[in-house]
């Protein structure tokens, strides 16, 4: 949710703040005498609060900002140049961790997985949720129930969802059971053991869990697509299909761009689905891993290496930075 909302609030920064009424000028709004007197004796803003009040209100947030956002960020950069282990100290090792990344086969596999993840998720999560939003947009009786139900997979924990799907995709689970019974396959499909099938199982899980999330984003955007424009197009004899492509799609184009960025970033950050579906192993030969999965692996235990995990964290930051900056740009333009 974080990415959707931040840039929006940023937009609010640029220009919604009201300037308090200037001294001397009588506000247009009806005001009492006392109001006028207050305005005469100086800027209203100057005396509305003691200087320390905002700082007191902000204090807890500032402490958390410093302790759990700014400091860990700085420390991550520092740690990336060390070989600190989870259970013991370490020392500065220069660029060794970054050099290691260049020859790390498992990291290369993780990056390939991320790209596949992204490319498969994108078309499904870009279009299906839009269709769902159009389906639930109309205020039919009982629509609130359907909206809530469609959102349920988003609310459930990724662990719960992955355990449910893991059970359904099991060699002896319901999907293989039905496929065998219908004679579609002669032996169970190894959804959870084959190197690529595990990845695609995780992807379908992410898609399934994400449908409601992006549906809501589209739903919120559809409210802004002009009804008049639709009616005008209908009057001109445009078919529903035609109106979809000429009115709705252009109307939600910016939202589609935003959704595409969100899908990309979340595909790069995937962890729980792969972890739970492979029971924490990363699949046979550890080939069904993501960058975050690797960070988690190196962050723990005797064989852990916090320095290398930090270098991977910087890599993660850098590969998500581009898409996130794009969101900020879209929002600034939209303002």
């Amino acid at each position: 949710m974080a990415e959707t909302t931040d840039a929006r609030t940023e937009r609010a920064t640029n220009g919604t703040r009201r300037v308090p009424p200037a001294e001397g000028t009588t506000p247009v709004a009806p005001t009492g005498q006392s109001r006028a007197a207050a305005a005469q004796s100086g800027t209203v803003a100057a005396r509305t609060h003691a200087w320390f009040t905002p700082w007191l209100l902000c204090l807890p947030a500032i402490v958390f900002l410093a302790a759990f956002n700014l400091w860990p960020s700085a420390n991550t950069v520092f740690l990336a140049f060390t070989n600190v282990r989870p259970l013991s100290g370490g020392e500065l090792v220069g660029l060794a961790n970054f050099e290691r990344m260049l020859t790390d086969d498992q990291l290369a596999t993780a990056l390939v997985n991320s790209i596949v993840y992204m490319l498969v998720c994108l078309p499904f999560l870009l279009l299906v949720p839009l269709a769902l939003a159009l389906l639930v947009e109309k205020k039919l009786p009982g629509i609130a129930f359907f909206r809530t139900a469609f959102y349920t997979p988003v609310v459930a924990s990724a662990v719960v969802v992955a355990l449910i799907w893991g059970w359904m995709l099991d060699d002896r689970g319901v999907i293989n059971g039905m496929a065998l019974r219908l004679g579609v396959v002669s032996e169970a499909i190894p959804f959870l053991t084959d190197r690529w099938l595990v990845l695609f199982s995780a992807i379908s899980l992410t898609v399934w869990k994400g449908l409601g999330y992006y549906m809501i984003i589209y739903l919120s955007a559809l409210g802004g697509v002009g009804r008049e424009l639709h009616e005008a197009a209908a009057v001109d004899g445009a078919s529903a299909w035609r109106r979809f492509w000429s009115v709705t799609v252009p109307g939600v184009r910016n939202t589609m761009l935003l959704v595409a960025v969100l899908i990309t970033v979340s595909a790069l950050r995937v962890f729980s689905e792969l972890f739970v579906l492979t029971n924490g192993t990363g699949g046979i030969g550890g080939r069904d891993v993501s960058v975050v999965f690797l960070i988690q692996m190196y962050a723990r235990g005797f064989s852990g290496n916090l320095g290398y995990a930090s270098a991977l964290s910087i890599l993660l930051f850098l590969i998500t930075l581009g898409p996130l900056l794009l969101i900020a740009r879209i929002n600034r333009k939209g303002a």
């Binding site: 959102y151 924990s157 399934w208 009057v235 930051f317």
Partner: protein, 301 residues
């Protein structure tokens, strides 16, 4: 988008000769379209909640019933809560649930108080340094949480909070995104209300309490919902912080449970339902605040 204006729409009057098919579009939604829409809604409903129902069904099947689906049956032949009892007895699932509640409670309280206070100051009080704070908060938005998780763990360990619930809850106890959301909510309150209160001699705290808060309740509800869901569902961070099974939250505990009961899907299913049902009830109870928040633009591109 298929929008059918009603017959009373003035557009009809203005309409030139329209093709008959188009003209039909102007009546209220045709019977056929209504049926098609409901049919599609039901299909999607089955896809989205079917897996949860299947899991619920598995969790209620007795040990005598074959859950390996030679012939998949949806309704348990002889529904039983034995699997839930097994999950309670052999693995401390109730303890996991309590731990998750503790983490969620700290997270909700921290965000409801800390983010609201800071959001108010940043929106409604002018002060030197506000810009700097906003800049720092916005910068953190570019940072995926996973990217600082290693350093975050070291901080928590230095504080002596490794393997504790407070250690799990603390980093998210004031989310910067929530500060921004509350700030937006306070910015949307008309400034005239504040101005009038100032004239009446209300100080900053009174304005915060009497004008700010009552007018930002909707957003407060939204951030509370998300704080709870976020804390309840989080997996990676508690997985890193917690090492002792008694301290596990539900997500970490479930992963653990699925290892212990790899051969008994009924018990694992019961465990997932224990984690799933509270969050669904919580969300269903508060969904109108959430969807109202959607309408007000809390969740928007």
């Amino acid at each position: 988008m298929v929008t059918y204006p009603t017959a009373t729409t003035p557009a009809v009057a203005r309409a030139p000769v329209t093709p008959t098919s188009g003209a039909r579009g102007f009546s209220t939604m045709s019977r056929r379209e209504t049926v098609v829409r409901y049919a599609l809604l039901v299909v999607v409903l089955l896809i989205t909640i079917g897996p949860f129902l299947w899991q619920l069904s598995t969790s209620l099947k007795g040990s005598g019933e074959d859950v390996y689906t030679a012939t998949p049956t949806f309704v348990p032949q002889d529904p039983t809560f034995d699997n839930y009892l097994a999950a309670f007895e052999t693995v401390p699932v109730l303890g996991f649930a309590r731990n998750s509640l503790v983490v969620a409670g700290i997270t909700i309280a921290g965000n409801a108080i800390g983010a609201t206070m800071a959001g108010y100051a940043l929106a409604r009080l002018r002060f030197r340094g506000a810009r700097l704070i906003m800049g720092a908060i916005l910068a953190t938005m570019l940072l995926p949480g996973e990217a600082t998780i290693v350093a975050q763990y070291l901080t928590i360990r230095e504080l002596g909070l490794a393997d504790t619930l407070l250690g799990v809850a603390l980093p998210g106890a004031i989310g910067m995104i929530n500060v921004l959301l509350m700030r937006t909510a306070f910015l949307n309150i008309p400034p005239e209300l504040d101005e009038a209160a100032i004239v009446d001699g209300a100080n900053a705290w009174q304005r915060f309490w009497r004008i700010g808060l009552p007018n930002a309740k909707g957003m407060l509800a939204v951030i509370t919902i998300f704080a709870f869901i976020g804390a309840w569902d989080d997996f990676l961070w508690p997985l890193i912080v917690l090492t002792t099974p008694e301290n596990f939250t539900l997500t970490v505990g479930l992963q653990y449970l699925s290892g212990v009961f790899a051969n008994n899907p009924r018990v694992v299913a019961a465990g997932t339902m224990i984690a799933f049902i509270p969050i669904v009830v919580f969300f269903a109870a508060l969904q109108r605040y959430f969807f109202r928040g959607v309408d007000e633009g809390a969740i928007k591109g």
